[in-house]
Symmetry: C2
Subunit: 80 residues, 2 copies
């Protein structure tokens, strides 16, 4: 299933670790702090666990959303 990861992380070092973890799981960067790609339910849980570990007690917010086909068909996006 498609998964969207969005994050607000203040610390530059931690933010790049979050990005690298998303890349490790094959997600594509779609915005500065947003990645998207195909993951199994298990891999999604694994990635979320890893991202939580990376963030630790540092200030930040990470959200992970699975997106079904039906929702994706109604998604809208600009590109400029």
């Amino acid at each position: 299933m498609q998964v969207l990861v969005i994050y607000d992380v203040e610390n530059d070092r931690i933010r790049s670790k979050v990005a690298n973890a998303c890349k490790d799981y094959g997600l594509q960067r779609i915005q500065f702090s947003a990645f998207r790609g195909d993951l199994s339910a298990n891999r999604m849980e694994e990635l979320f666990f890893r991202l939580k570990k990376i963030l630790g007690v540092d200030k930040g917010n990470i959200q992970m959303y699975p997106m079904c086909e039906k929702d994706l068909k109604q998604a809208r996006g600009t590109e400029s």
Copy 2:
């Protein structure tokens, strides 16, 4: 339905217009450049049209995702 709006907008003035438009439509800010809330399909289209107009030809990327109940149940989030 729940709708997630995420955006990368360089220009501060335009970025705050995007945020204000999201607030006008009753969405809640969940991250620096991410809003979420309940919109009808029509209101989602209306908001997307308004956001595209705000962005105009300026550099930026706006994504809008509807999120069904089933997906939301599997969503994951950290808060620290």
